[in-house]
């Protein structure tokens, strides 16, 4: 079981601002790493955009599960994990991180922040500790109030999109993805592949 990324964002309609992110791309090959990182940022942002305030959701995409928690005050967190990683622990991590973040970083900075300007350094540590859920979060620490029935489950990224919206378009318009990542993603038009995408 593995965690790939952990990010903190702010949902201020209609935009979503990335405040801080940590990732572990050590299981990807050399030439995939930067693209993977960019895609995870892109995906995290997109998910927060399409999730309502005060909601929790898990989005399944091929081998990966993206867990998102958007607080009612707009602060949001996304964990991208593999399908084995226990969702309960992921949400517990999000809760903890957002709580800590809100105490360390002034609310004023949220709508206008960026990873460069935000002073919050604990993310990498959390990501690496939580690679082993048993150690980081034994059952006793899980908050009893967490009601799992309230977590929305999406089977694909596509189900987050609005009618008529295409993931291809969002990818090409994205400012987060470099040209390389976009080229990487581009489907061969000749063959009209309809593969699901990360």
């Amino acid at each position: 079981m593995k965690l790939y990324s952990l990010s903190v964002l702010y949902k201020s309609e209609p935009k979503v601002v990335l405040l801080k992110a940590a990732s572990d791309v050590s299981s990807f090959s050399f030439f995939q790493r930067s693209s993977v990182q960019e895609f995870m940022t892109f995906t995290s942002q997109l998910i927060v955009e399409r999730s309502a305030k005060g909601s929790r959701a898990s989005v399944k995409e091929q081998e990966y599960l993206c867990h998102v928690y958007v607080r009612s005050d707009g602060l949001a967190g996304v964990v991208i994990a593999d399908s084995e990683y226990p969702a309960r622990v992921a949400f517990s991590l999000l809760e903890k991180v957002l709580d800590e973040f809100s105490k360390q970083v002034d609310r004023i900075d949220w709508p206008v922040g960026s990873p460069a300007t935000i002073q919050y350094t604990a993310l990498e540590g959390h990501l690496s500790r939580y690679q082993n859920p048993r150690e980081a979060d034994p059952m006793s620490k899980v908050q009893a109030e967490l009601d799992e029935t309230k977590i929305i489950l999406h089977n694909t990224m596509e189900s987050l999109l609005e009618r008529g919206e295409k993931l291809d378009d969002l990818v090409s318009k994205s400012e987060v993805l470099g040209t390389q990542s976009k080229a990487f993603y581009k489907t061969a038009r000749k063959q009209n592949s309809c593969c699901a995408v990360m």
Partner: protein, 639 residues
């Protein structure tokens, strides 16, 4: 062999051979048919040098150049004080140390030091110091950088290296736990060989590569290295004398750098052409095939294994006319051709026997006497063609043995079924049999065959199989004895390589009517192809060929439109992907970073046949067959 006088363009094989012969001739151009005995000499090489020389020069040819003795550098060598020694080694630490030791021990009369790739200044100084200390300076006659650090296997095919191929293997490039410095070393090793290749070819290419891949990193570094060398006016290797006369002098060749990840199905594919089959099912390596002669085949549930008997090795060389003609032919054609050659040979043999017996009746038969003068002429020609006949017999025996060994594998593992099925998968035609049936069939194929088939299916399919289906397949595969690690890696790979997940359509493979096959069977051929389908290949372009076609013919295609463009001759580095040159290229080199195989090579050869006047070369960082490739995938898929 003198390059400039040849009417036909000099191939890379000829060029490298010429360079080697010049080196063996004390670094003076070798002129064929020169009178007088060659100077006797000793050749000292390391394993890298051995791998480069062996596909190009036979022991006899070495002897013709005056090499009486050839020895490995790191072996016990006795002094031979009155003989010059030619060294051909890599400039590594251990090799330099040993050479210095040789100097100190005064092993030979004089030393001609040739380095496969360029030696560094500091190592050169080490040798100079050793020579000084041994008072052997005058004995070091010549020191050369040969720039021959690549292995040429065919007129139009080369690989980087063999000894350290694990350093630059597919696995080495794609494993996740690689550090930046390790990757630099891998890339530098590849670029060094490619640089040597272009120095030997005598041309500076235009380089195109895909983005975000190992191929791109190679392209950037190669461009830089070529550029630096061109700018160095004193030491440039691409000046007038080294530039090839003939094919490359007016037009620049195109170098297409492709990453293996663009097509993972072809390295796993079951094949149907002779050379590719030999590489797939037999032990075929640097143009030498090693057979274990079997006395028969035992059928067992897991797929037959031939009984092991004596070992035999054959070299498949450019002078083997049958091989040159048929290495790309579909196997049934090969079987039939061997049969035909055998019949023709027998007819000629009978003719010689007949003439001999007639001669034996000389003086006793009137009719015989009058035929005598005719027959003398006939016999003379028969006798003079005896060496030719003997050679023909040798080749017929060779190919009979090789083709028989291949056929045994085909029959035991039912490789024709795999080939046909995979072609259908890759061309998206409807499948008449279920994949599960083939996997669960105990009589068809080894576990590796089944794994290959399933991986090709998984790679090529548009819709990933559902969880339930996948579990079913996995169970069937495990029951058949397969190791599932490669699948683990392929799943990961597919999640990223969407471009590669929509492969080219291959067209249909049709089963030809019985005609060809029945003729082979009816003539009492030993190639009993009963039960083996006579499949005909329809020519379609594999992904690598398709990419080459787009770039060589300047076709617009989303797949290759944003390939990067490098021209080392241009003054300022240009990063645009807009090619300056608008005309189609006449020569191209396709190089696959991450490994290649004979199927891909053959596809390019077939493609070239349809293009008059074009020259295409194929190279790869390593050559692997499906088993070797799967082993790497398995290591990559291990958690």
């Amino acid at each position: 062999m003198v390059g400039g006088e040849m009417a036909a363009p000099t191939s890379i094989r000829e060029r490298q051979t010429v360079a080697l012969k010049r080196m063996l001739n004390f670094n003076v151009p070798h002129v064929k048919n020169s009178t007088g005995e060659p100077v006797w000499k000793v050749l000292i090489y390391d394993r890298f040098g051995q791998d480069i020389i062996s596909p190009l020069l036979s022991v006899k040819e070495l002897r013709d150049m005056g090499i009486t003795l050839h020895l490995l550098l790191h072996s016990d060598r006795d002094p031979i004080p009155d003989v010059p020694a030619v060294y051909f080694v890599m400039p590594s630490e251990e090799n330099i140390d040993r050479m210095c030791q040789d100097l100190r021990n005064q092993l030979y009369e004089s030393y001609y030091l040739n380095f496969i790739s360029a030696i560094s200044r500091s190592k050169l100084e080490d040798i100079a110091n050793a020579a000084l200390a041994a008072s052997a300076v005058t004995q070091v006659a010549k020191v050369f950088d040969q720039y021959l650090n690549f292995i040429t296997l065919e007129d139009d095919m080369f690989v980087l290296c063999n000894q350290n191929k694990e350093l630059v293997s597919y696995r080495a490039i794609n494993r996740p736990d690689i550090t930046d410095t390790e990757m630099e070393t891998v890339m530098d090793t590849i670029v060094d060989s490619l640089f040597c290749f272009f120095v030997t070819l005598g041309a500076v290419p235009i380089i195109r590569c895909s983005r975000g891949t190992a191929a791109e990193m190679v392209a950037v570094k190669l461009d830089k290295k070529l550029r630096e060398n061109l700018r160095d006016a004193r030491n440039s290797l691409f000046t007038g004398d080294t530039l090839g006369a003939g094919q490359f002098s007016f037009q620049r060749p195109l170098l297409v750098l492709v990453d293996r990840n663009v097509d993972l199905a072809t390295p796993l594919h079951h094949t149907w052409t002779y050379q590719a089959l030999v590489h797939d099912v037999l032990d075929f390596h640097l143009n030498r095939v090693n057979l274990e002669e079997s006395s028969g085949v035992e059928n067992s549930p897991a797929g037959a294994r031939p009984k092991r008997k004596n070992k035999k090795s054959y070299d498949l060389t450019p002078v083997d006319r049958f091989w040159q003609k048929h290495k790309g032919s579909p196997f049934p054609e090969v079987a039939e051709s061997v049969q035909q050659e055998l019949e023709y040979y027998r007819a000629q043999e009978d003719e010689v026997k007949r003439l001999k017996s007639i001669m034996g009746l000389e003086g006793e038969d009137e009719g015989a006497i009058s035929m005598l003068s005719d027959n003398t002429a006939k016999l003379t020609s028969a006798v003079s063609s005896l060496p030719e006949l003997l050679e023909k017999k040798r080749l017929i025996d060779l190919h009979t043995n090789v083709a028989t060994a291949v056929l045994e594998h085909i029959k035991a593992r039912k490789l024709d079924i795999y080939f046909e099925y995979e072609e259908k998968i890759m061309s998206k035609t409807t499948l008449d049999k279920s994949l599960l049936d083939i996997i669960s069939d105990p009589d068809a194929g080894t576990p590796e065959d089944k794994m290959r088939l399933f991986l090709i299916y998984y790679i090529s399919t548009q819709q990933a199989p559902s969880e339930a289906d996948l579990e079913q397949y996995k169970k069937a595969l495990t029951d058949a004895g397969c190791n599932l690690n490669p699948l683990q890696y392929i799943k990961q790979w597919k999640a990223f390589a969407k471009m590669a997940s929509a492969p080219t359509s291959y067209g249909n493979t049709t089963t030809k009517p019985m005609g060809l096959l029945s003729r082979v069977m009816n003539t009492g051929s030993q190639f009993v192809m009963e039960g083996v389908k006579n499949l005909v290949l329809k020519q379609q372009n594999l992904p690598v060929t398709r990419i080459l076609d787009n770039l060589m013919e300047m076709k617009s295609n989303p797949e290759t439109d944003d390939y990067r463009y490098f021209d080392p001759k241009m003054l300022r580095g240009n990063d645009s992907s807009v090619p300056r040159n608008k005309n189609p290229f006449q020569e191209a080199i396709v190089f696959v970073v991450g490994g290649g195989n004979y199927i891909e090579y053959q596809n390019l050869v077939d493609y070239r046949k349809g293009k008059q006047g074009k020259h295409i070369l194929y190279g790869c960082s390593e050559l692997f067959n499906a088993m070797q490739f799967m082993r790497q995938l398995s290591q990559l898929g291990q958690k």
